[in-house]
C-alpha cells in the first residue's frame, strides 16, 4: 500500500509544496496516503459506501483549493480529517431526509429479523445493525467521537485535533456516548441498564 512508502511529516510537507506548484503526481501521492483514512471517517458518519467516496473526492478537491492555507507547523492529517468531517456532516444534513425515507421503506419483518438474530452472537449482522442504528441516535459530537474511536481506531489525542477540542472533552463525550448506547441497547441485548 502507498501508505508505507511515505510517512514522515517532512515528506508530506515536500509533497504539499510540490502539489501547490501544480505537480499532479505529488498530489496523487497525497491522495494515496490519506484517502483511506478520509474514507473511514466519512463512512463512519454516513454509513454508505458511495456517499463516503463522494466525500473523499470532495475533501481532496477542497484540499487542493486550500493548499495555500495550510500552515506547515500544523498536523496535516488532523487538518485534512477536519475538512473531511465538516464535509461529511454537511453531506449528512443535506441528505438526512432522503436517508429517513429509505429507512422507513425497510419492512417491519426485516427489522424484526435483525433484532432476533443478534442475541447469541455480538458479531452477528443483527447486532451490528442495532448498534449502527443507535449510534445514529447519539448527539453529533458524541457520535463523531464514538465512531472515530471505535470504528476508525483513532486515539483520543487525534480525535481532539480533528474536532478542535481538548482531550478531556473528548474523553467526557466518549463516556457519555457509551453510557447512552448501553442504556438504549440494554433491553435488546439482554443487559441490565
Amino acid at each position: 500500500m502507498e501508505e508505507t512508502r511515505i510517512a514522515t511529516h517532512e515528506d508530506v510537507s515536500i509533497l504539499l509544496d510540490r502539489a501547490s506548484q501544480g505537480d499532479r503526481q505529488a498530489f496523487k501521492n497525497i491522495v494515496g496516503l490519506y484517502q483511506q483514512k478520509v474514507f473511514l471517517l466519512a463512512y463512519s458518519i454516513l454509513g454508505h459506501r458511495e456517499d463516503a467516496l463522494d466525500v473523499v473526492q470532495e475533501t481532496f478537491m477542497r484540499l487542493y483549493q486550500k493548499l495555500d492555507a495550510y500552515e506547515k507547523d500544523r498536523n496535516f492529517q488532523a487538518w485534512l480529517l477536519q475538512i473531511a468531517k465538516n464535509l461529511s456532516i454537511d453531506y449528512y444534513r443535506k441528505h438526512r431526509e432522503k436517508r429517513r425515507e429509505m429507512e422507513s421503506l425497510r419492512s417491519v419483518e426485516e427489522l424484526q429479523l435483525a433484532a432476533d438474530d443478534h442475541r447469541s452472537d455480538p458479531e452477528s449482522p443483527g447486532l451490528r445493525h442495532v448498534i449502527s442504528r443507535n449510534i445514529e441516535r447519539l448527539g453529533e459530537r458524541q457520535r463523531l467521537i464514538f465512531v472515530m474511536k471505535h470504528l476508525n481506531g483513532l486515539e483520543y489525542r487525534e480525535i481532539a485535533q480533528v474536532l478542535g477540542i481538548s482531550v478531556g472533552t473528548v474523553k467526557s463525550l466518549h463516556f457519555k456516548a457509551v453510557r447512552n448506547l448501553r442504556n438504549w441497547l440494554s433491553p435488546e441485548l439482554g443487559m441490565q441498564p
Binding site: 491522495v31 474514507f39 478537491m61 487542493y64 492555507a69 455480538p122 471505535h150 470504528l151
Partner: protein, 265 residues
C-alpha cells in the same frame, strides 16, 4: 440490580485497555468482589465488541475498493475542475513583516482604531467640550456696594498707617531739640503718599466726602514731611506738631476709623 458500594472505578478505561497495569490490577480485584461492576464490565465488553465488529465491517468495505484507481479518479476530478486559485503565500506581507502574537497585535490595532473613531465622533459632537460658564451678572447697586466696601477698607488701612506715622512724629521730640523720624516711618510716609493717589478716585466714586477731606489733610502733612529732610529742625517739627494739634487730626482719624468700622457693608 446490585450497586457498587465503593468508589466506582473507570470501567470504560478498563475495558478499553487505557490504563496502567497497576490500576488495571486494582480494578480487576475490585470486579472480583463487586458483582455490579462485573456485570457492567461484561455489558461494556459486548457493546464495544459490537462496535469493533462494525469497524471490521468497515474495513472489509475498505478492502473491496481499488484505491489506486480511486486515487487516479480523485486527482482527475480535481485537475478537470480547472486550475487552483492563486492564493497569496502565507506569511508574505510586503507591507508588514510577520510578527509574533499576530492576533493580539491585530486586536490591539483594531482597538486603537475603534477608540480613535469614537473619540473623533465624541469631540466632533462636542460632548466633552466644557460649556462656557454663564456670564456673571450683577446689579448696579451690588457693584456700587462693592466699590464702597473696597474704598472703606482701603481708607481704614490708610488711616491706620497714617495714625502710626503721626503718633511717632508727635512723640519723637528729643531734649536736644531735634526730632528724627525712623526709617520705617519715612518709608511709610512715601508709601502713604502714593497710596493716597490711588485712594482718591475710590473715595470720590464711593461718595465718601468726609473721609476724603480728612485724608486730604493727612496728605498735606505727609507732603510737607516728604519735602523736608529726614532730620527736622525743632521749628519744623513743632510746626507740624502744631498743625496736627490745631486740626485735631489724630482725633479726626480716630473718629473716622470708628465710623468706618461701624459702617461695614
Amino acid at each position: 440490580m446490585n450497586k457498587c458500594r465503593g468508589k466506582k472505578p473507570d470501567l470504560l478505561a478498563y475495558v478499553g485497555g487505557e490504563m496502567s497495569d497497576r490500576d488495571r490490577e486494582d480494578i480487576r480485584r475490585h470486579i472480583e468482589a463487586c458483582p455490579a461492576c462485573a456485570d457492567e464490565v461484561r455489558e461494556l465488553e459486548r457493546l464495544l465488541e459490537g462496535a469493533d465488529s462494525l469497524g471490521r465491517e468497515m474495513r472489509q468495505v475498505l478492502a473491496g475498493i481499488d484505491w489506486d484507481a480511486q486515487a487516479e479518479k480523485v486527482v482527475s476530478a480535481v485537475w478537470d475542475r480547472g486550475p487552483r486559485p492563486l492564493g497569496k503565500p502565507r506569511g508574505v506581507r510586503p507591507w508588514l513583516p510577520a510578527l509574533p502574537f499576530g492576533p493580539v497585535l491585530a486586536g490591539l490595532l483594531i482597538g486603537i482604531l475603534v477608540g480613535a473613531a469614537a473619540m473623533f465622533f465624541v469631540l466632533r459632537d462636542g460632548t466633552l467640550r466644557k460649556t462656557p460658564a454663564e456670564a456673571f451678572f450683577a446689579s448696579g447697586e451690588f457693584l456700587s456696594r462693592v466699590d464702597q466696601e473696597i474704598a472703606r477698607r482701603e481708607t481704614l488701612d490708610y488711616l491706620e498707617k497714617s495714625q502710626y506715622v503721626l503718633l511717632e512724629l508727635a512723640q519723637t521730640q528729643t531734649e536736644s531739640g531735634e526730632c528724627r523720624l525712623s526709617e520705617a516711618a519715612t518709608l511709610k510716609t512715601r508709601e502713604l503718599l502714593s497710596k493716597k493717589k490711588y485712594l482718591n478716585p475710590q473715595l470720590e466714586k464711593a461718595r465718601m466726602a468726609k473721609a476724603k477731606a480728612i485724608c486730604d489733610q493727612i496728605e498735606i502733612l505727609f507732603y510737607e514731611l516728604a519735602q523736608i529732610s529726614e532730620s527736622l529742625t525743632p521749628a519744623q517739627c513743632r510746626g507740624i506738631q502744631n498743625l496736627i494739634e490745631e486740626r485735631n487730626i489724630l482725633l479726626k482719624i480716630k473718629l473716622l476709623k470708628k465710623e468706618l468700622q461701624e459702617s461695614e457693608v
